[in-house]
Amino acid sequence: MANVPVHEWTLLEAARKVREKEISSRELTGAILARIEALDPIVHAYVTVLAEGAAAQAAACDEEQAKGTLRGPFHGVPIGLKDIFCTRGVRTTCGSRILRDFLPPYDACVAERILAAGAVLTGKHNMDEFAMGSSTETSFFGPTRNPWDVSRIPGGSSGGTAAAVAAAMCFAGVGTDTGGSIRQPASLCGVVGVKPTYGRVSRYGMVAFASSLDQGGPIARTVADAAALLGVIAGYDRRDSTCVDIPVPDYLAAVERPVKGLRVGLPKEYYEGEGLSPEVRAAVEKALKALTDQGAVVVEVSLPHTEYALSTYYLIAPAEASSNLARYDGVRYGHRAEGASGLIEMMSRTRAEGFGDEVKRRIMIGTYALSAGYYDAYYGKAQKVRTLIRDDFTKAFEAADVLLTPTAPTPAFRLGEKTGDPLTMYLSDIYTIPCNLAGIPGISVPCGFSSEGLPIGAQLLSKPFREETLFTAAGAIERAIPVRRVAPVRG
């Protein structure tokens, strides 16, 4: 451990070393900024790098520490944010041309909380436009590459965050997950990603995609780092009416707990599909063995409505998005088309120019699903199926404490491989989507590599507000299957 390079430290190690004055925040931040400068031209995990801002923040942290004050648990440690979180005065693009130069007048709750914890903000991570995508290829700013193989995608939509964490261009980051956007890229980049219970993390200041599904959560290189970061960003915020006012437990303490007697459910529907790659199946089986070796018990469960999850999701999410994205009309902020002769033309052209194809596709699907005469058949029906999916999980959690599934059906695919076929792309999220529909928490934890050296993640799901159980089970897998967490960045 003595010669581990600075950037490879875990979030908790880095925080401890700053706290114990083994390293200054300036040095620590300098190492990360140097790493970004060297690697980001290849990986392109950042839309905006805050080189000067981070250096200034680090200097301020050092000064305060010299006077005896520590801001919080992450004092002086570089952390990044997906470019979906509003940051006061710092450009927030959401991966879209329509917000290319948008400077928010306020900080998102998540941004406030990581800054209050002492984090140094490295910059804003690339993402699929408005979080719509599974590969980070729909970003207006160009794709992010998978640091394990730069010819491949990092997953998405929080691909920039997962890639930045995997390539050690920050110690951790916060992403968002609407249908798998934290867990799938975490799996594909070999890092840990947590989608908390709906209502656990405030959505205030998180640019909305699908309001009833969106949830912010940590992406980090270890389970303990993810647990610590969730502990900082979780908790009640009165500015989000859907945020739940229940105490935040000590997630870190849960990581080391034994799994003896833990009931691990295997939802059979998740293992029956044709799309599951044998290598992913084998890796997840290893994860299961790791749990049973430590005393967990296996139970088979059924989630009978799983096959309807994808279509349900692709009605609810676009419907909400069609309304959420209507505000980008060129009137008050963001892109505005030049030279329009009237209001309707200005708005239409602004949106035609400002949004990419995938966003337009979903706005159209969603607008259709909400239209008079179609509402009951589409949106209304989808809401009913959503209830059935939620009930499936409630029933499954009577028999099991956690469910173990693959996170994604395959390891990272190649850039451009699925961009021409949206439906195939949508299938990347087949294992992650039901969790969002049910509002339950999920985690993706690395559990092996493919024969091509690509990371594979296992997904664990639990009852609402039982993130501790996820950390306990993921911690056990992590201890049994120690895999390399920092990507070599190879082409």
Binding site: P104, P105, S322, D329, V331, R332, L343, T367, S371, A372
Partner: protein, 471 residues
């Protein structure tokens, strides 16, 4: 063929909360453009609405005062449409599940009472305002003022129960009084705090099915509502009599031209793509809150009129004027409590000095003292009016002024005896003539005594004394 008119009204009332319905911005009228705005009400990316509890409370109180059933669970929905005064491109409004259903208010027309049903009451946010004038960046432009965005509104939808424009006007006035009584709306029509749209149709007398309805907008006073309804009813009847058909559409009232003008046809109506707002949880109102609020509902205008009439024995008409403004009725009762006397006189005084009463510059004591002194004959009606005016201009108490100004009337018969004797002594011929039967001369003597007293004598008492002395 005789036609019957069918009218239903939709009132948008601004709730008098200090802050907006989904953010903490001020609702104050008259701020400079975009002063009362924040990221939430200007629809910045990432913002979320948080419901104002006071706005819910005000709506529940309105529901209780109009005998509506407060719904335990109601839901906010998004009404989606693009317009530059609507920053989120959707208005948050209750749609399928409003907070209150099925109430009524009673109105008085032609001396009788009619009950007008209330279909529903729901809560929603207001939009901003566009100013289509001036130049901007070298080009003709429209400017958006978002101060009104997210100002809380309550929409009160009536049943199609009104049969004449006058009933429409009476309903509006009564509803207005109820809201102002409750203190949930300032009722200011000019500032847009109380707005009304109307649905109007006609049908041959005796037919049960409704005719095709037309929605009327842009009527900003009671008078305009009545005029617009009268015009529209006439237009529809003439159209049908000429063999035409009424089309379902929205029409605007043009107050200057005195006509309604077509704005959009049914087929041009928007598809608002309503769906429940996922950013807001269903609104759950528990019974204990409703019961707590029920205790805060003051006496409503109709009840107050009946009570004033019965309790004080004043005419219903007077009671109606007093009850039209809660503050005026309260003032009347406060005055009447200080001096009982004849409440009709007190009522007259309250109505006469209404502006000062409502402006808060007059105290109930002033009116009570004025009425008491007059009824006891201490001062004359003229002096009373003069003294109240002095109270208003100087702020001094009524009776202090009365004594300072020497406006006390001579009502003491013994004091008047001297004056009367003096006058009679100076007019022996007239006295003789009177006694000979020319009784019309009594007024002459009264006039002389009044003159002698420099107007301070109480004419009534003077007359009595004269009669006694001459008789």
């Amino acid at each position: 063929m005789a036609f019957e008119t069918v009218i239903g009204l939709e009132v948008h009332a601004q709730l008098s909360t200090r802050s907006k319905i989904f953010c903490a911005c001020s609702t104050a009228f008259g701020a400079s453009p975009n002063e009362n705005t924040c990221p939430v009400c200007t629809g910045m990316p990432g913002v979320l609405p948080v419901l104002n509890r006071k706005a819910v409370e005000f709506t529940i109180r309105t529901a209780l005062a109009t005998s509506c059933a407060v719904q335990r669970r109601s839901v906010f929905a998004r009404k989606n449409y693009f317009y530059p005064d609507l920053p989120k491109a959707y208005q948050i409004s209750q749609y399928e599940l409003p907070i209150a259903l099925g109430g009524h208010i009673d109105i008085e027309v032609d001396g009788g009472t009619r009950r007008i049903g209330i279909t529903r009451i729901h809560m929603e946010e207001d939009a901003g305002k566009l100013i289509h004038e001036g130049e901007f960046a070298g080009a003709q432009a429209s400017l958006a003022d978002l101060n009104r965005c997210s100002v809380p509104l309550m929409e009160i939808v009536s049943e199609p129960d009104m049969r004449t424009p006058e009933e429409g006007g009476a309903y509006l006035r009564r509803l207005h009084d109820v809201l102002v009584y409750l203190g949930v709306c300032d009722g200011n029509m000019e500032e847009g705090s109380f707005r009304c749209d109307a649905n109007v149709s006609v049908r041959p007398v005796g037919r049960e099915a409704f005719g095709t309805k037309v929605e009327l907008k842009n009527m900003n006073s009671y008078r305009n509502v009545e005029k617009a309804l009268e015009y529209e009813v006439r237009r529809q009847v003439e159209l049908i009599e000429d063999g035409g058909e009424v089309v379902q559409e929205t029409r605007l009232w043009d107050a200057n031209a005195g006509v309604t003008v077509s704005m959009r046809r049914k087929e041009e109506a928007h598809d608002y793509r309503y769906f429940p707002d996922p950013d807001l949880l269903p609104l759950i109102v528990d019974d204990s809150w409703v019961e707590e609020l029920r205790g805060t509902i003051p006496e409503m205008p109709a009840e107050k009129i009946a009570r004033l009439e019965a309790q004080y024995g004043i005419p219903r008409y007077d009671a109606g004027i007093l009850a039209s403004t809660r503050a005026l009725a309260d003032f009347f009762e406060a005055s009447a409590a200080i001096y009982g006397g004849n409440p009709k006189t007190t009522a007259n005084e309250c109505v006469h000095w209404k502006d000062a009463v409502l402006a808060g510059t007059l105290s109930p004591e002033t009116i009570a003292h004025a009425v008491e002194d007059r009824e006891r004959g201490t001062i004359s009606a003229t002096a009373s009016k003069k003294l109240v005016e002095l109270v208003l201009s100087t702020g001094k108490p009524f009776r202090t002024l009365r004594d300072e100004q020497g406006l006390t009337q001579l009502s003491d018969a013994s004091a008047l005896d001297l004056l009367v004797d003096k006058v009679l002594a100076a007019s022996p011929k007239e006295v003789e003539a009177y006694r000979a039967g020319k009784e019309g001369l009594l007024s002459f003597f009264v006039g002389q005594v009044m003159k002698e007293s420099r107007g301070k004598a109480n004419p009534k008492v003077v007359r009595e004394v004269l009669k006694r002395k001459l008789g």
